[in-house]
Amino acid sequence: MTELSEQEIISAIQSKEGINSALRNLYDLYYRYLERYILQNSGNEDDAADTIQEAFLVFIKLIENNKFRQESSIKSFLYSITKNLWITELRKRKSMARRNELYVNDEKMEVADISHAIIKNESHKIIMDIFAEIGQKCKSILYRFYYEELPMKEIMSLEGFSNEQVLRNKKHKCLKGLIEKIQSDPSKYSTIKNALQYVG
């Protein structure tokens, strides 16, 4: 696979064009490096796989929100995200790495952005889990609008709607149902409310 420059990787993620090959490039370049960090800090291969996938998700989100200012390389940016995610996970497990305490390095602005992104990520995970459980029709409509970002006409055709307003009403109804589910669990909703201040 052709190795892309950092700028090409960032552009591919921002434009969604070639995002798959950009991600594959990042995997080829940095997966083992990031994995080593988890393995050296009380994690196993499965922990590394989960954490690194989550790190790539946070990385994409930060790039989309223009929070990667290229003060550091993609490699060290991904490393900081992975490290912060893993620290969060270790704290959850209440078994901090035995010997060496790990702390967030707050020297750069980007690191504050990472820290906010990770707080938001906890809420994203809760919402993604709730989203996975809603009805298939609603899931499909919302997915086509917000992930695939398809034009209204195409969604109408794919989902079997003949009227644009009917589809729009259905979308609003689905979104409302999802938000009600999110608000119905006080403990999960409390986590989400704490993250709202970081939503741009």
């Binding site: 798959n20 790990l102 709202l196």
Partner: protein
């Protein structure tokens, strides 16, 4: 609690399709109403999460593809390492092979085993009130190993310092000195009353590699056995089946 009307309005607003009048009204209300601002943030977060569900699936696919190809590559490069047939082991252990290949084989195999297992120690960020430790941490991160070994001598009783010096000697290929420092850490751990064994697993691993590099397989074996027999050892998973086979053959030949 805000009603359904707001979900529609905010969703259309975020899609950029709300008509001008309603847009202005909503923006004015947003300025005044914190609850409405939070509700809009919740809708944004929800829309983002739906998008992330798709991105998560995409990452998962790339991940599975990468892991599969990595495994295939290992199988293509080293097919024999996973076929441990008695015939092959018999030949490997035979006297004639010892004579034929001799020391050169041992040298190349120890190098090979070392290269496969060598992991540069990556210092986690340590918060310390001691200025010397902070200084050493910075030097280590800058890979200024020469400076570190000038500052720390074997008389130190501080395991953090001893470990940094041990790894610095290791990086400078002063394996004999590296061993002295790493062993001092283990000595401190042995004499501790409590069970807080600082850098115990790390020192085991780098002692194994240092002895391997010095071709002292008897001592390397001591640490190798500790790592491979203890499932909870931090470096247990770093030594795979292929490494085990190589190391056992090296021992046989020694």
């Amino acid at each position: 609690m805000l009603d359904e009307r707001y979900i529609e309005m905010i969703d259309d607003y975020l899609d950029g399709i709300l008509d001008q009048n309603e847009k202005e009204k909503l923006e004015a209300e947003l300025k005044e109403n914190q609850e409405l601002r939070d509700f809009m943030a919740l809708i944004k977060l929800t829309r983002e999460s739906i998008k992330m569900s798709g991105q998560k699936e995409m990452i998962q696919q790339v991940h599975e593809e990468y892991i599969k190809e990595s495994k295939d590559e290992i199988n293509i490069e080293k097919p024999k390492s996973f076929r441990i047939s008695p015939w092959w082991l018999g030949v490997a252990a035979s006297i004639s092979l010892f004579i034929l290949i001799g020391n050169f084989w041992i040298k190349t195999q120890t190098e090979n085993l070392f290269d496969e297992n060598y992991i540069a120690y990556n210092l986690p960020t340590m918060r310390s009130t001691e200025s010397l430790e902070n200084e050493l941490t910075i030097l280590f991160k800058d890979a200024d190993y020469e400076a570190i070994i000038k500052i720390i001598d074997l008389g130190s009783e501080n395991s953090n310092e001893l470990f940094l010096a041990g790894i610095s000697h290791f990086e400078l290929e002063n394996y004999k000195e590296s061993i002295q420092y790493l062993k001092k850490i283990q000595l401190i751990n042995e004499t501790k009353v409590d069970s807080s064994h600082v850098f115990q697993d790390e020192s085991d691993y780098y002692l194994f590699l240092a002895y391997l590099k010095m071709e002292n397989l008897t001592d390397a074996d001591r640490y190798y056995s500790k790592i491979t027999t203890d499932m909870n050892h931090t470096y247990h998973k770093n030594i795979n089946l292929q490494d085990k086979l190589k190391f056992n053959i090296l021992k046989l030949k020694n």
